[in-house]
Symmetry: C2
Subunit: 588 residues, 2 copies
């Protein structure tokens, strides 16, 4: 698959964009005319810069409102188009995207449109240029790919082809079937973009909410597959506008964009090492520091082993393991088990996810480390019983089962502009699947939250974005530990002097209003500072510490009756309580 | 008009909200249940806090999904409603807002809904409480005020009334006429909110984009007038949710909210000192500092007078006046002429716009100073020829006419969260009218821009918001000066060593493509670093300096043929050029 991206898809000035696109390994670009117009580089200088960077200029775009034009004004179109052909000659570009007319005065006359495109085709052909004619989803009279193809067919000119844009096509409710009957060599260009399904004006949707394939909900792969099946052999080129890419770092955007094409290609042709099918939480790695040991002891963990070659101690309580690293360079990390370990490391590398530097002694577990955009460090271990299991690197007593059952979930906070990338990390590397997005009021803004889980396996990761104007926390901000008896664990924490988040009395009054709880349970919840939720027969009881010396808040929870959520109904209360307590409101 | 506001309309925790609401002078509040639930204060403590602050609790809201409930689950509703009545008793609140059912299982049976509301009415009446039943615009079966009134009429209970909410009513396409036939004493509560007209899902629109009356485009005043005409005598209470109010400072929001009610009241009953009908730009006041004098000289201004009592010098060139203030506390300010001066000062005071401290010598012009949310200082002078004209405070030679014609417009930058307030300043104090909102790509984000002008008079103010992630500039960032010969003024600036913003050659190539300019004009534009625009017979030629020692960029412009805009087609080029030159991209 030949990869491309439009310069409009990144922030910065043109030279910033070209550098970022080249660094991410793209084959070619679409030059967005406004980027060129605003650049101090001449078209020839841009062409030279691209050549130096190894980037082909696959498309010049857009030229607008060129067909369906009232005949008395078509001379101005010819002048404008001719001028842009001159620019293209200097750029060395040989395909130009022409969009369907959006003008209020556009004429609804396909023969006229065809005739005008034919005349432009003559001009283009003289310069060795091909026109790709695109149906904008908000075109005045041509807004579907089938209509654009009809005009191109009538134009009947070798230099006039149709453009396929997945966003415009899918936004109008078409799918790959809309390309039936279009020969592949009559498709002049393929632009790809995804978007979340939003019920709003299509132009605003397109301008502000497009995203890279796989980050939205449109069937981009289906349209790309149909285009390739028709025989199209040109670039698969990303054209994404959004409030996010306008502001994000262009290097980040370019990598995120390239990954989306790697995943798209994998979806169509299985080109990547396969994703793991089951991922389980295994351990947390915590940098050593003042207060860490007391915090772990208060949670009922005890030291049970030391690492063979590193200054690392394993602490354990039942199903929960924490390794404490005395190395100054240690980072808060999440260990998971998944198979095959080497394959996941290769998949991460193929997807451009950065490796986290780790030394490794002879005979020790492979344990590759991979960094996410939020700064989450993921360490991948094999399951117990085979080679490359993390725990085999430790010498010591086997842990006795106690009252902690498992790491239930981990909450990761990410800045707004990097949310798409973090989601891509979880989906692309680990094949985690997203739950429904949720949004909570926070006293100084909003918290957007989404839970991710593998199709099989017990890992749960909640990704949070805070829109509060303040600099957000990043990486792991909260770890939820499943307890066999959450009340007992709360009491033990209190005995150890660890205060729990104070829950307002009004919350319990509201619980009673909503659920009609019996007085004893209500008193018990209140006495243990527990939040409560119920869905059908399922119940959740959970409590929160403040930020611990471990670097994260701890949530203690007990699920029963098949409760599968995260206590969303009480989240706004917890956020306000955390804000009142002066804690960062970044838990989830 | 009795004024109220819902606590959900402000950011912060409940106690922050109450303090901000009281400081802005509201009569009463709506207690948003979730605010109470998340508060560590008991309902009685909240009641006491409100009493201390002089705030009545006019409404408790909302209780959801209480009618159209499958009968086997109505007992749970009675339990929930009863519990909330208990809370209300402690709060001392006597009106409760019940929203129409949004549940997928809600029954479409008005008699059932009426019967259920009747039973709730019995419970409420026992506690001295009245129910106000509201049709949510996204209610499952009751989504228009007429339907809610039909249910209330059938419920036939003195404690069951209908609520009017301007947003819900107008969002469904109704207007004040929808209230025909509803007696005023059967309207239990009036909630007001405005919104910009957006083509999107109503629930999302409501959650994220509501604003205070006059800040959107809905006919809020019409519905309020109809409600009052029906005989409603209760509070006019603001209920606004938005991404802005979630994050903004609650004190700012509360003042902005109160102003919107003062303006609404004025619209209905002419309660404020009248707004000026004509406003003209008069002068700029600039703090003295290194480089200011050379910058003014380069612009062709010369000193023509000194202030009678202050260390202030008047500089002039034709129709442009700048006063340079040697006082250390001087701020960049805009002087305007408008009448009547004293009335405008009173209007500013009535609308809670802060006065800017100014000393004034005996016999000198009144010249009241008023501060806008962006930090713009506005000084209001009478016209020449009468008392209170600013220029009469200066002694010196009368300025000779030269090549500057007038202050064409002033660009004011404002942080995103304060845009609504800044707009309110221009509209409420000066009765300026907004043009269409525009949005421009900036290399690191977006620039949103809107021009304001009086119905009569020459003042033009452009308000800009930068969404670039960086801390935005605020206050006056650019001043556009109209020139009789912009080319000559550009040459004079260059002779004086003031560089102009470099315009990329590609821009001129595009100009030619778009307009087919003759070669001589094109060469001339290029030689003078001029931007160009044409609409019909109108033309705009304009050039930009970098930021000067005056504290703002200067735009030099020449309009002809009735050109009335701001050169929007070239704005993205200018923004990129300013970014490339390392200048703040905050001009407009």
């Amino acid at each position: 698959m030949r990869t491309g991206i439009a310069t409009v898809s990144l922030s910065g000035v043109l030279t910033d964009k070209l550098a970022a696109i080249a660094a991410a390994g793209f084959d070619g670009i679409e030059v967005f005319d406004n980027d060129l117009i605003a650049s101090p580089l001449s078209p020839r200088e841009v062409a030279r810069r691209c050549a130096d960077l190894g980037l082909a200029i696959d498309l010049f775009q857009p030229v607008r409102d060129v067909e369906g034009v009232p005949p008395d004004r078509f001379d101005a179109v010819l002048h404008r188009f001719g001028a842009k052909l001159g620019v293209m000659e200097e750029l060395g570009a040989t395909t130009v995207l022409c969009c369907s007319n959006v003008g209020a005065d556009a004429l609804d006359d396909r023969d006229l449109s065809a005739e005008q495109l034919h005349r432009l085709g003559d001009l283009a052909a003289e310069c060795g240029v091909t026109i790709a004619f695109e149906a904008l989803a908000w075109g005045r009279h041509v807004d579907r790919v089938g209509q654009a193809w009809d005009v191109v067919r009538r134009a009947d000119h070798p230099a006039v082809t149709v453009a396929v844009d997945t966003f415009h096509l899918l936004a109008r409710g078409d799918d790959g079937a809309a390309l039936a009957g279009i020969p592949g060599d009559r498709i002049g260009f393929l632009q790809v973009a995804d978007a979340p399904l939003l019920d709003m004006d299509v132009l605003e949707w397109s301008r502000h909410f497009r995203c890279f394939p796989g980050e939205g909900t449109l069937d981009v792969a289906g349209v790309v597959a149909a285009t390739l099946a028709a025989g199209y052999t040109g670039p698969v080129s990303l054209e994404v506008f959004s409030d996010v890419v306008r502001e994000a770092d262009p290097a980040d955007t370019a990598r995120d964009a390239m990954r989306s094409l790697l995943l798209l290609d994998d979806q169509l042709r299985a080109t990547l090492p396969p994703a793991p099918v089951a991922v389980e939480p295994a351990f947390l790695e915590v940098p050593a520091g003042r207060g860490v040991t007391p915090a772990l002891r208060a949670l009922g963990l005890a030291p049970v082993g030391t690492h063979r070659s590193k200054p690392v101690t394993r602490w354990s309580n039942g199903g929960v393991d924490v390794v404490v690293n005395d190395d100054d360079a240690a980072e808060l990390s999440l260990g998971v088990t998944a198979a095959p370990v080497a394959g996941i490391a290769e998949r991460a590398k193929a997807l451009l996810w950065p490796e986290v530097d780790r030394t490794r002694g002879a005979g020790e577990a492979l344990l590759p480390g991979i960094g996410s955009p939020s700064g989450l460090h993921l360490l991948v271990s094999a399951e117990a019983g085979g080679p490359d299991h993390w725990a085999d690197d430790f010498v010591g007593t086997a842990p006795a089962a106690e009252d902690l059952v498992a790491i239930d979930h981990v909450v990761v906070a990410v800045p707004t502009l990097r949310l798409n990338e973090e989601v891509s990390f979880l989906r692309s590397l680990l094949a985690l699947e997203p739950g429904a997005p949720e949004e909570f009021m926070e006293p100084h803004g909003r918290l957007r939250s989404r839970a991710f889980r593998p199709r099989t396996g017990g890992l749960r990761v909640v990704v949070n974005v805070e829109d509060t104007g303040a600099a957000p926390a990043t990486g792991i901000t909260q770890v939820a530990l499943a307890c066999s008896d959450v009340r007992a664990r709360v009491r033990a924490l209190r005995d150890a002097g660890v205060p729990l988040l104070a829950v307002p009395d009004n919350y319990y009054a509201d619980l009673d209003a909503r659920f009609g709880l019996d007085a004893e349970l209500l008193a018990d919840l209140r006495a243990h500072s527990l939040f409560y939720d119920r869905v059908g027969d399922g119940e959740l009881l959970h409590a929160f510490t403040g930020p611990l010396a471990t670097g994260f808040h701890v949530e203690l929870l007990e699920r029963s009756g098949g409760y599968d959520g995260y206590g969303s109904a009480g989240t706004h209360v917890r956020l306000a309580a955390q804000r009142s307590a002066g804690q960062l409101a970044s838990g989830g």
